[in-house]
């Protein structure tokens, strides 16, 4: 009897399936699937909720059809996408890069959150361990250094771009 015993299936490699959920209810869906998997015999080694991907969760399992049947009864779970995805494609979600990794001193950034939202500033210092940056606002009369979290800014002009532009202007 092939595949009739769930213990035999455990020996296979797991597959990663994508479940479409109600937006904002990804974590609740993961918890519901977790409790459902505990009660049933369906083997689900892991469930992954990534903040970057709203409305979707990843589920690691063996049997696609059993998962498809199970999620029909789970609130907030909409449907399952066709096919499975290799682990390499979700690797970048598992080990997220630092929020300040792509920012360098001298970059021009726009504040996207906090009390200075919408203002532009120049990066003067980067703290890699705390993932914080210190900026000086262009609009302020007196340059006051402000320390903000790396996620609160968006780079609008790189230091290199600015340097190239000023060199071109000099040539003209």
């Amino acid at each position: 009897m092939e595949g009739s015993n769930s213990e035999e299936i455990v020996q296979e490699n797991t597959k990663i399936f994508t479940i479409k959920t109600q937006v904002g209810k990804e974590q609740n869906t993961a918890d519901l699937i977790n409790s459902r998997a505990g009660k049933s015999k369906i083997k689900i080694p892991s469930i992954l909720v990534t903040p970057e991907l709203r409305g979707y969760i990843f589920l690691e399992s063996y049997d696609k059809e059993r998962i498809r049947d199970m999620i029909k009864t789970v609130s907030y779970a909409r449907n399952m996408l066709e096919g499975d995805i290799p682990i390499d494609q979700i690797q970048h979600f598992l080990i997220p890069a630092s929020a300040v990794a792509k920012i360098t001193e001298g970059d021009v950034v726009e504040m996207i959150a906090g009390p200075f939202r919408g203002e532009t500033a120049k990066v003067t210092h980067i703290d890699d361990t705390k993932e914080e940056i210190t900026v000086e606002l262009f609009e302020s009369v007196v340059p006051i250094p402000i320390t903000v979290r790396g996620e609160q800014v968006r780079v609008i002009k790189r230091k290199d771009e600015e340097k190239n532009k000023s060199e071109e202007e000099k040539r003209d």
């Binding site: 455990v10 490699n13 797991t14 990663i16 990804e26 974590q27 993961a30 918890d31 977790n34 998997a37 505990g38 083997k43 689900i44 080694p45 892991s46 469930i47 992954l48 909720v49 990534t50 903040p51 990843f58 690691e60 682990i87 979700i90 690797q91 979600f93 598992l94 080990i95 997220p96 993932e131 979290r149």
Partner: protein, 61 residues
């Protein structure tokens, strides 16, 4: 309602100020959510170097 916190080292989610696994301080600022049910058979657990089942954060700030 209690605030869920994450260990700064092992990323395990807990309601305590100290991680039950590694006895280190926890943070209330975290992102991403992973439920590991069977670390031995999970590719995700292996990629994240998780050996114990439980709920984990992807990123702790």
């Amino acid at each position: 309602m209690k605030i869920v916190r994450a260990c700064k080292t092992c990323h395990k989610l807990t309601e305590s100020d100290v991680c039950p696994n590694c006895s280190l301080p926890t943070s209330k600022r975290w992102r991403g959510y992973v439920i590991i049910r069977n670390p031995e058979n999970s590719q995700v657990a292996k990629a994240m170097n998780i050996t114990k089942p439980g709920k984990y954060a992807l990123k702790v700030m």
